[in-house]
Symmetry: C2
Subunit: 347 residues, 2 copies
Amino acid sequence: MNNKNIGIKDVAVAAGVSATTVSHVLNDVPYARISTETREKVKAAAVQLGYGPNRLAQALRTQRTGLLGLVSEDIATTPHAGRIILGADDAARARGYNLMIINTSASASDESRKSDVDALLERRVDGILYATMYHRILDVPGNLANVPAVLVDAVSSGATIAAVVPDEEAGARTAVTTLLAAGHTRIGFLNNTDDVPSTHGRLRGFRKALSEAGLDGGAAPVHTGPSEVQGGYEAARRMLQLSDPPTGIFCYNDRMAMGAYRAAAELGLAIPADLSIVGFDDQELIAGNLHPGLTTLALPHYEMGAWATGTLIDAIEGKGDLAGLALDPTVLDCPLVTRGSVAPPRS
Amino acid sequence: MNNKNIGIKDVAVAAGVSATTVSHVLNDVPYARISTETREKVKAAAVQLGYGPNRLAQALRTQRTGLLGLVSEDIATTPHAGRIILGADDAARARGYNLMIINTSASASDESRKSDVDALLERRVDGILYATMYHRILDVPGNLANVPAVLVDAVSSGATIAAVVPDEEAGARTAVTTLLAAGHTRIGFLNNTDDVPSTHGRLRGFRKALSEAGLDGGAAPVHTGPSEVQGGYEAARRMLQLSDPPTGIFCYNDRMAMGAYRAAAELGLAIPADLSIVGFDDQELIAGNLHPGLTTLALPHYEMGAWATGTLIDAIEGKGDLAGLALDPTVLDCPLVTRGSVAPPRS
DNA sequence: CTGAAAGCGCTAACAC
DNA sequence: GTGTTAGCGCTTTCAG
């Protein structure tokens, strides 16, 4: 039951041994030579009293808290943060660590970011995960250098901190390949207007995949708009009214794809019979609920959280080196989630 | 900069005083009589060395960690968890506390819930927030009684723990009142089939609001289905093909409302000109992106997180009493979020 | 006005 | 095989 007032000493008294022995037994200290008899006595006393270790005292003594700090941007805005947290929590607990969470915002001042990290440092976390809500380049707070740290879904401006991000380019290639495989040859891209890595990476992947298939990647139609439903709607309308419109459209994200659905409906185009669409992000609420379901690429948030945590713990435990990883970020795959928005083009 | 190796002792040496004095100065101990001179010297030395307190040591000594445990169900599934976390984090930090997060699942075993709480107890959190992902009745782990605790979006089966939940009934009344105010008199309800408090509460509110307006609440059409897009779609189709179909529909949640949108479109009904719709939940991704935007009731997740945290801290600091609150749960308002799905009925 | 000493609960050398 | 001792970094009586 973990009665808060029971200490190692009480167990020692109850078992008729010293505190040291109790500590040795309960922690399975390898070099401790203690009789099986005594071991049993101690363990029995411990459960009988409902003993639970005081991790504070342990931490103070061992200089290890078993705590990881997670500073996460805009936790409330998207479900993405949740997946990162879940991946991190699963990975952390599998190795006996717990998570301390601090929320920050993408627009937070340098001062405030620094004090977030300071709060974690005061608590003597063994390491810090720093997660952003969309793939971007981050000015990391200076004091982050004082502790093992890994960035999630972001890279540091100086490439000074180990980082893990989605493979934007490969994801876009998968999208195009999926459309090609269904038989499409006139393929367009509805891109975002923001100057962020995913905008550029996905465009690169789009063009390369087409070129490698023997099509003219440079000439394929790319229309842009804000990465929202309305932006997708407007860009899609323009693209679908081209003289020789594409039969397959790859959208920067699921929200833009949702706009494309509406544009298609207004123009009398059925999905997927008349028009195939591939999204990006796999926002369950959108992709799963559109009609037909949207085929899209999933962002590996869970995996990034888990990878970052595993790597961080390795570094903390001396089983790995973070410095080597700082140079270029680790990229993780964006798997295709097939629903119902891709079909062969009307011949 | 919070250099991890600087302690109170180092500051003491640098300032030429004792550790006690440093502690007194840095913590503004009220009864400490220390000259302004010395105070300045100490403070200067502290910032100069980049001193940061070791919260572990403080906690061990004072028996207060300033840590709140938050066990949250299915963090990754919806953005709701994020809003609870954000509300809790804001409220916690405003009062100098931090959050330790543990993820669990709605289907977790009793054993596993208990060990989640135990992990938090071992870390000597000052209190625990236990949050579920939808309003429900919860069998709380027994060891939760060992520490101040508040439930968020759930009530305990024995009404033994303080709790905060949304006011389902009032929310439903607001939905109906909104439709009434727009001039509707034939109003239907698309309800969920699950046996959970929100299903019953919203139905109660629906009927009462109609009756109070002089309409026959008992006779108003209520069709039910699974609380998903498809369930809403099917229930809406049935309802709209009644001989005297409603001109306004209140939906159990935004997902069902999304289904109702599709049913309306298929039947040639324009929203809001031919049919007004009100949802529930305010899932931004859906409600904000439907066309027209969905008028809906927001669940007060942020507010519940913040309220629970404030109340918990009050109890920890002896400024409030949790036992009194356990008897019946605190209910928080579901505010109306007006978008574009309600208009007067076609005369 | 300031400091010495004890101790929060635990672990790790080192003795026995 | 098991116990003694010291100390992690801090706060808090209690003396001076």
